[in-house]
């Protein structure tokens, strides 16, 4: 008798769970789809804020940046991706200061580990969301991050 009961109980329980499954999938059927139609939806594309596309050095409207040329990022970089050229200038009081001449960044060897951004004491560099970085030659991947004629923001 017990076996007889379990036979029916199992059959009905099985049918019940199947219906639960079908209800769930039907709900999903009518839900908004997650597929990104990428090249067509460039305008509305949502990329998460912390996505690391490429290294940039933000400049303000006076063409000024925060980089003091301390080379901490160059030292932090495990791949030797960053090359910084600095020079020393002397002001009228005879005080020598180092300033940034050229900040070279090779996107081709960057592994987007963010160690350079973490090492920077002045928040002069950050990673941007821009991700369409494909080019036809590797030379074009080497970029100068400081703009022409830019100066240090006091």
């Amino acid at each position: 008798m017990n076996k007889f009961n379990t036979y029916f109980k199992e059959a009905f329980a099985g049918a019940g769970t199947l219906l639960v499954g079908m209800r769930t999938t039907l709900k999903i059927f009518f839900r908004a789809k997650v597929t990104e139609q990428y090249p067509e939806n460039r305008a509305t594309l949502q990329i998460s804020d912390r996505f690391r596309g490429e290294l940039v050095m933000p400049h303000d409207e006076n063409n000024q940046h925060h980089c003091v040329g301390c080379k901490l990022c160059e030292m932090a970089c495990p791949n030797g991706t960053i090359h910084i050229t600095t020079d020393v200038k002397e002001d009228e009081e005879g005080k020598k200061t180092r300033y940034l001449v050229k900040y070279e960044y090779d996107l081709g060897s960057c592994m987007f580990c963010q160690l350079c951004v973490n090492a920077c004491p002045h928040d002069a560099i950050r990673f941007s969301n821009h991700f369409e970085n494909a080019v036809f030659s590797r030379n074009t991947l080497v970029r100068q991050l400081n703009h022409e004629g830019s100066t240090l923001k006091k």
Binding site: G21, L26, F29, K33, T35, Q37
Partner: protein
């Protein structure tokens, strides 16, 4: 024109029409399957080739047509080449039994349901041959699984069809549709008809080798099952037959239970009935059929695949006894005049 020639020309025309309809429905079903599968997985499906990917299937057809048919070294070549034709032959023969509209039916005679069951069973021979002649362990395991499953589920299918034949009092397919003019079988036959409908959907899904019962071609275990070694259009035939079997199973379900090409009528509402009559019969038939196709696809993309022992357990311990009881119930109700 001599009569023989006229018959020959008529036969050829009907055959060409059938094959064209077969191909067109295969294309519609493949597109539908890809879209519905995608929607159940929160994707959009094919979107690139043509608007909403409408030309995707045509691109796939061209691709499969220009592919090479590989000649295997150690296969049984005669049987290997014959298997896809047997499968597609069974499928087309069953396809030609479907009632499209009043008088629009290729094969129709007084033992129509019997003929239908008989020709749809030929398919299993093709599957077993394909697995046997490929000389591949995956193919063989897939074919034997498919054979065991299809032969088992044919019993349930037969029981269900017998139930509906008892209710209709005729075996002719057009006759079954005609007697549903005053109400579809699923409404007229209430409890036993609904049980039979559910059993039919499960067994038919297994017959079409789809859904949770696709263990003849279980991709993860058997690469592709019985058609692992096939390429080009030989593979295409299996693929076509698989999709058309889905359509045929749905078409028979709509014939037996949902009134075939009969419009939906509510007795008493004459205006409503007149509007329903205005819609042509084949639209009704296709609408009902694609509704059931959607249900079967819904099932397929919801449930995980069963093991072979679970599949056979479901058939022999649950569906077949239920089908037999249902047949008895239907007979008793029919005699007592409780089904209409």
């Amino acid at each position: 024109m001599p009569q023989g020639l006229a018959y020959l020309i008529e036969g050829l025309l009907v055959a060409v029409l059938l094959i064209v309809a077969y191909a067109v429905f295969a294309i519609i079903l493949i597109y539908m399957e890809r879209k519905i599968c995608a929607f159940f997985q929160l994707r959009l499906g094919p979107m690139r080739v043509g608007k909403w990917g409408l030309l995707q299937v045509f691109a796939d057809v061209i691709k499969i047509l220009i592919k090479e048919i590989i000649r295997l070294k150690n296969a049984d070549h005669f049987l290997y080449a014959m298997a896809p034709y047997i499968v597609i032959l069974a499928s087309i023969l069953t396809f030609s039994c479907l009632p499209w509209n009043k008088g629009m039916q290729v094969i129709d005679y007084n033992i129509g349901v019997f003929f239908l069951i008989a020709v749809s069973s030929i398919e299993v021979v093709g599957i077993l041959l394909a697995g046997w002649s490929s000389r591949n362990k995956y193919s063989l395991i897939g074919a034997v699984r498919g054979g065991a499953m299809m032969i088992s589920y044919e019993l349930s299918l037969g029981m269900v069809m017998l139930t509906m034949v008892v209710m209709s009092g005729t075996m002719s397919i057009s006759g079954i549709v005609e007697q549903q003019a005053d109400g579809w079988n699923i409404f007229k036959g209430h409890v036993p008809a609904v049980i039979a409908f559910i059993i039919y959907l499960i067994a038919g899904n297994a017959e079409a080798n789809r859904g949770p019962f696709d263990l003849a071609e279980a991709e993860q275990e058997l690469t592709a099952g019985y058609h692992t070694e096939y390429s080009g259009m030989h593979f295409g035939f299996f693929y076509l037959a698989e999709y058309l079997n889905l359509f045929i199973v749905s078409g028979i379900a709509s014939t037996l239970f949902l009134g075939g090409w009969m419009p939906f009528h509510v007795s008493g509402l004459d205006g409503f009935n007149a509007v329903m009559d205005f819609i042509p019969g084949f639209v009704w038939f296709l609408g009902k059929t694609f509704f059931i196709v959607f249900i079967l696809m819904w099932v397929k993309w919801t449930f995980p695949r069963l093991r072979i022992d679970q599949v056979l357990q479901l058939e022999w311990k649950y569906l077949l006894p239920l089908g037999m009881l249902n047949l008895v119930l239907m007979t008793v109700l029919k005699i007592a005049g409780l089904v209409f």
